[in-house]
């Protein structure tokens, strides 16, 4: 528990606005400050389209904040950084690459030796249960399998911080549940700092060590919950249910 309080990523006072249809600037992320600790599973929970994705894009270095900054291990983030991995909401698998080539995309761009990255990729392919599908193209996979590829791809790039942007949003309830179990297993085997975005309270409570609850658009931090329930968690656990009720009463309705 000691290491948990070592700050890995420091987000200080970041804001971002976009021009709306009438051309006026509208705030999407409003003055957010947040510390991400080493090795924690941090969940960002907020109603649909509340600006979480914008926040994520800024953390990942894909967008520049209007104000404030994101600092990783003492270094300000201005462009995408190999220390950070991302599992995309719409999987973002490259349709022209096979599963293996998708997963090894990152190391190949970095110019790593083939032997090393293939071995590592195989390890993660086995871990997410895609053994035998190495040569398939994304269109041949189901939604759940595609996102497994996305997860294996992020891990194979060996990031220090892993960002998951509503990774299971497009899956049906059954697949979603089993994918949550899967993520938990992987996290146990291969501990990394994870920032996980979701709009599903149950999912947040299943996975998160800490849950940041956001307001509806623009995104502001509403409340921070520490989830001190041992994993794997039981959805019928008393503390679980109480927290769930509390969070759900505190959540803004998004229409």
């Amino acid at each position: 528990m000691e290491q948990k309080y070592l700050t890995r990523l420091k987000i200080s006072n970041i804001s971002k606005s976009f021009p709306n249809k009438e051309g006026k600037r509208e705030l999407a992320v409003d003055n957010i400050s947040l510390d991400v600790y080493d090795g924690e599973f941090l969940v960002l929970l907020g109603p649909g389209r509340c600006g979480k994705s914008v926040l994520l894009n800024m953390i990942a270095g894909l967008m520049k904040p209007d104000e404030g900054k994101v600092v990783l291990d003492g270094e300000e983030i201005t462009k995408p950084n190999p220390q950070m991995g991302m599992v995309f909401q719409k999987t973002g698998l490259l349709p022209w690459l096979t599963v293996m080539d998708n997963i090894t995309f990152g190391p190949r761009q970095r110019g790593e030796s083939k032997k090393i990255y293939t071995e590592r990729a195989q390890k993660y392919i086995d871990m997410v249960g895609l053994t035998g599908f190495e040569k398939s193209y994304p269109y041949q996979l189901s939604g759940g399998m595609k996102q497994r590829v996305g997860i294996a791809r992020a891990y194979t790039n060996e990031p220090k911080i892993l960002i998951m942007d509503e990774p299971f949003g497009a899956l049906d309830a059954q697949t979603r549940y089993s994918m949550e179990q899967e993520v938990q297993n992987i996290v146990e085997k291969d501990r990394r700092t994870i920032i996980f975005v979701t709009n599903n309270i149950e999912e947040a409570l299943m996975l998160g060590d800490r849950i940041i609850l956001f307001t509806n658009y623009p995104a502001r931090i509403k409340k921070i919950y520490d989830v001190n329930i041992s994993k794997p968690r039981d959805t019928m656990d008393r503390t679980f249910l109480m927290l769930r009720k509390e969070i759900s009463e505190n959540t803004d309705l998004a229409l």
């Binding site: 894009n57 990942a60 894909l62 462009k79 995408p80 190999p82 950070m84 991995g85 991302m86 995309f88 719409k90 973002g92 490259l94 349709p95 022209w96 690459l97 995309f105 990152g106 190391p107 761009q109 970095r110 193209y137 994304p138 269109y139 791809r153 790039n157």
Partner: protein, 268 residues
């Protein structure tokens, strides 16, 4: 997927129907019958299928203007292949550049956009004035006709790339423009670029005919034109059949190459 199944089951039922199998033959039979009927009135201007077939066999055995029918097909195809090759070598990089760089788009792209609405066939008279009617002039005409669709498609293909793929590239270490271009942009645009090459091929086949009909000593357009000059309609029709067959063969070939190059693309 459930929807597809339903469609397949109705199609499956259809296939048991006798008509489903008989109709295609009936239609071709009807076509030939109408052809015969039409040509019986005036075989001079409307030769029978028989005559055309005999003419084609004769053409493939005896040389006309130095080539057999296959030879003339070869001449036209060679012209198309050379021009198309040049158009791909120049057009794809040009289109990619216009799509990728804002500066190139604002300059070369703008000029291109201005020339684009002028149909390729309208260039032919000017080309004849500039370059005469020799081999070089034909190659230039076909090249220009093929260049347009290739450039336009390469450019559109690049413009249409989903920003998500660029994000993926950036997140996974494609840090330089060149890396992004090579590992994300080009493969993502490849199917669209290929569609452009397919359009270019049919444009090139059209223009090679037009060019050969203006003046040539060999090629399918020459055959058609010669047929018209000496009022030999069966020769004209033989040329048309040959160009139809050539077009179909070229289409099969491009499809095959596309399947090999873009195995992930299911719209082929």
């Amino acid at each position: 997927m459930r929807i597809k199944k339903e469609k397949i089951s109705t199609e499956y039922k259809m296939k048991y129907s006798i008509w489903y199998h008989v109709l295609p033959f009936l239609s071709i039979g009807l076509l030939i019958a109408v052809w015969y009927l039409g040509s019986s009135s005036n075989p001079m201007i409307f030769p029978t299928p028989n005559t055309v077939l005999r003419r084609m066999i004769e053409l493939s055995q005896n040389k006309l203007s130095g080539y057999t029918l296959i030879g003339h097909m070869g001449v036209s195809l060679l012209r198309v292949a050379v021009s198309l090759g040049l158009a791909i070598i120049i057009g794809v990089p040009l289109g990619v550049l216009i799509g990728w760089s804002r500066g190139v788009r604002a300059t070369i792209g703008a000029v291109f956009e201005c020339i684009r609405p002028i149909p390729m066939l309208a260039w032919i008279p000017l080309m004849v004035m500039w370059f005469g009617i020799g081999e070089k002039s034909k190659i230039i005409m076909i090249f220009m006709a093929a260049l347009m669709p290739i450039v336009v498609n390469s450019y559109t293909g690049i413009k249409m790339i989903s920003p998500l793929y660029l994000d993926v590239g950036k997140m996974f270490n494609a840090s330089t423009e060149w890396q992004l271009l090579r590992s994300i942009v080009l493969p993502a645009a490849l199917p669209t670029i290929f569609a452009g090459i397919r359009n270019a091929t049919s444009m090139a086949l059209m223009v090679v005919l037009a060019a050969e009909m203006i003046a040539a000593r060999a090629g399918l357009g020459f055959l058609i034109n010669r047929g018209m000059e000496v009022f030999d309609v069966s020769l004209v029709m033989s040329g048309m059949v040959a160009i139809g067959v050539t077009g179909a063969l070229v289409a099969v070939l491009t499809n095959f190459i596309e399947r090999k190059l873009c195995p992930w693309n299911r719209s082929i």
